[in-house]
Each structure stands twice: as structure tokens, then as C-alpha cells.
Symmetry: C2
Subunit: 226 residues, 2 copies
């Protein structure tokens, strides 16, 4: 069957959300074909019958799943013969740690990107984005975006554990990618789509890791406009 | 059988190394009784027949294992009926990520602690410690220890993923601790033994998590002088 994912977009249709990218990589990993509906921030609450506040929202197997981690758990349970996304209960718990690491990185990586994201949204969505992000950061977008060099340096510093890990193994999941890889790859893909900061530039461990994911999921990652 | 661990000490016998603490927690988790030999930094190369550069060095089951992660893998393989330290191959790979996160945290947490550690070593060991750490940090210990408030704040910031994770589950390993918990707990125990910075103060998620580990491994964690 084909899954259906409501995919967050910028005004020109570019697919934005790191969590949507993680979900799309997880679906590709399990061999599930996918259709997407471009969805603006301000339309999230209206999709799939309503009731969802965040993306991805995914319709699959007769269910509607409003979270990328929950989708990955669903895929693991329903597609046990496809390559693993976790590989056991302990791995699920440990992948929650990677998700927490990803949330931290998201905050760091987003600072020098927020104005570029804002400027790439339509006028109605800009109002929502500015209000919600200024509440989240407790500063104006202009204040958050100030000192981009320092913000980029802080984000790069926060990637240190990833660099250390990739010295010793090709993927976060070991010899093959797991959902942990997709959670972090989603962030780099999000940054790449926005284009304001090239976080992969000069990354001798992280760059090749992302390249290995592109070798496996090139079609998914190339679909930056769906 | 009883395992034997060469345990890094300060001049007054306090047990220092975060990786030794992780190893001791892993041994306790698997129900292995333990004897320790207090070992100074400058004596590491002479223990267990020589050839080791770092601690913990552990003699167990007729083998000598010179790394806490390798020890945990050995325990998991040889004691499959005791509580798990990993829980499968994927979990091993993901725990390497926690170890990388721990190495990053170690660097951050150590900055405001380095002079206190130096001052608590005997004169011979102080020389080794200063030379090796100044090479590592590429600054004098006094420079590394400058601006302790900023260093503590940076270390606290780097603990953010741990705080996020512990909102949703009691241990890094989920409902029960895994080696991932011990890798991080070793850092907080190390800081507690040194006493220069109280990293658990005011930590509403991390403090109770460490308390839950103390409930389970209180005897191990109380043996700060062996």
C-alpha cells in the first residue's frame, strides 16, 4: 500500500521539516511507497480530519499517525521482515536519546536559519512562524539571527558527539542505518533545503555519512519539492 | 568469580575516573563481585603486566580488558542471564553514540574541574596530569580553568539532551538502566568525587535519575575510596 504524508512546505513548495524528512527516510527504509501533500504551517490543524498540531501526519494502514517516532514504531511493528529501524526494545529507548540529541541540535542549528525560513514563507504563514518562534526563543527573530557566526559555531560544537561516533562506525545504527540516523539526517536535509547555512561543508566525518545515506535513499532526499 | 579492577585515584585514595565508575556500575549490574587496586595516573602503564594506557583495566574470567566499553561487551556476552547492559546489536551501536556524547560532556564538565583535580594529585602525578591535559586542551590548566561560570554554563547547556530525554523515561535505557546510563552516570559521579562543581544541583530531571541509580547501585557509588 501507499502511505500518505502531509509534508511541510515553504512558499515555493520546498519540503522543510526535519521530522518529515526523518519520516520519509523511515518509509523508504521499510520499502513503503509514498504520496505527499504540501502543507503550510498554518494548515497543519486542518489536515487528516484535524486534531494535529505538528507534522509529519501520516496516513498508513488505515491509521493516521501524527509523529515521526510513532510512525517509525508502527513501521517496525508492521514490517518486521524489512530492514530494522530500531532492532529491539533497548534500541527504541536509546533512539529516544538520539531524538533528544536531535531536538537540541535543531535548536542550535535553527538560530542562523530562522530569518531565511521566515522570508521563504508566504505572508500568512510568516505571521504564525514569527509569533510561535519568538515565543519559543523568547527573542525576536532578528535577535535570534544576530551573530550568525557565533550561532553556527555553537551548532558545529554541538555536532561534536556525532563526529566522535562516526570515527568508529559508518552509521549511528552501526554497519547499517537505523531510525537514529534518519532523525539526525533530517536536520541536515532541512538545513540543505533552506540553504542559509552549509552545515556539511568541511565536515570530514558527517559529510561522508550523509553521502552514504544519499547512496541508499537518493530518490527520497532528492525530492526537495515532493 | 571476583573481578579485579585497577581504579584511578587521587592522592587521598578517592576514586576518580568516570570510565572506572561506568565499569564498576556495569559489573554491579551483572552481579559480579569486585576488588580494586588504587592506581595513580603515572602507574597505569605498569599494572596487569603492562601495555595499558588508560583505565579501567579489568581482570575477569582469565582475561585482562583495558576499556570500559569492551568490558561491558564481555559481561553481556558471558552473563546473558543477568540484566542486559545493551539488549542487542543495534543497542550496542546506539550505545557507542552515548559514549561519544559522554566524551563530549567529559570535555565540557572537566574545564572548571581541572585545577581541583590537579591539586588533589601527588606531586609526581601532577606533572603527568598537567603535561597531558595541557596538550589535550592546548592551553595551560589555569587558562582552561578561567571563567568557571561560563564553563559550567556550557557544560549545563550540553546536558540539555539528557534533560529532554528524561522527561519521557526514567533511564537512558528506558524502564531499566543499561550501560548507556552508566557511561553518563560515571561523569556525574566523577564530578561528585572531585567536588569542585555540583553539577546535580538544581537538576530536576538529571538529579532524580542519578538518585534512581543510587537506589539500585548505592553500595557501588558509595565506595568513593574503594
Amino acid at each position: 500500500m501507499t502511505a500518505h504524508l502531509y509534508d511541510l512546505v515553504l512558499a515555493d513548495g520546498r519540503r522543510l521539516s526535519p521530522y518529515c524528512w526523518a519520516a520519509k527516510l523511515a518509509l523508504a527504509h521499510k520499502g513503503v511507497t509514498l504520496e505527499t501533500t504540501p502543507t503550510r504551517f498554518v494548515d497543519i490543524s486542518t489536515v487528516a480530519g484535524g486534531g494535529f498540531k505538528t507534522v509529519p501526519v501520516t496516513e498508513i494502514d488505515g491509521a493516521t499517525i501524527g509523529d515521526s517516532f510513532a510512525l517509525a514504531l508502527h513501521l517496525e511493528k508492521t514490517r518486521p521482515d524489512a530492514p530494522a529501524l530500531f532492532g529491539g526494545e533497548s534500541a527504541v529507548a536509546l533512539t529516544r536519546g538520539v531524538a533528544a540529541q536531535g531536538a537540541y541540535l535543531l535548536g542550535k542549528m535553527s538560530r542562523p536559519m530562522v530569518l531565511a525560513i521566515h522570508d521563504a514563507l508566504d505572508a500568512e504563514t510568516q505571521g504564525y512562524f514569527r509569533a510561535s518562534r519568538e515565543k519559543m526563543f523568547r527573542h525576536t527573530l532578528e535577535e535570534v539571527a544576530a551573530n550568525p557566526d557565533a550561532s553556527v559555531a555553537a551548532a558545529k560544537d554541538a555536532m561534536t558527539p556525532l563526529r566522535i561516533l562516526l570515527r568508529g562506525q559508518p552509521f549511528l545504527g552501526g554497519d547499517a542505518p537505523l531510525f537514529a540516523d534518519f532523525l539526525i539526517a533530517g536536520l541536515f536535509q532541512w538545513a540543505r533545503v533552506v540553504g542559509a547555512v552549509d552545515y556539511l561543508a568541511g565536515e570530514e566525518r558527517i559529510g561522508p555519512w550523509f553521502g552514504r545515506l544519499e547512496e541508499r535513499y537518493g530518490e527520497t532526499l532528492a525530492a526537495t519539492r515532493g
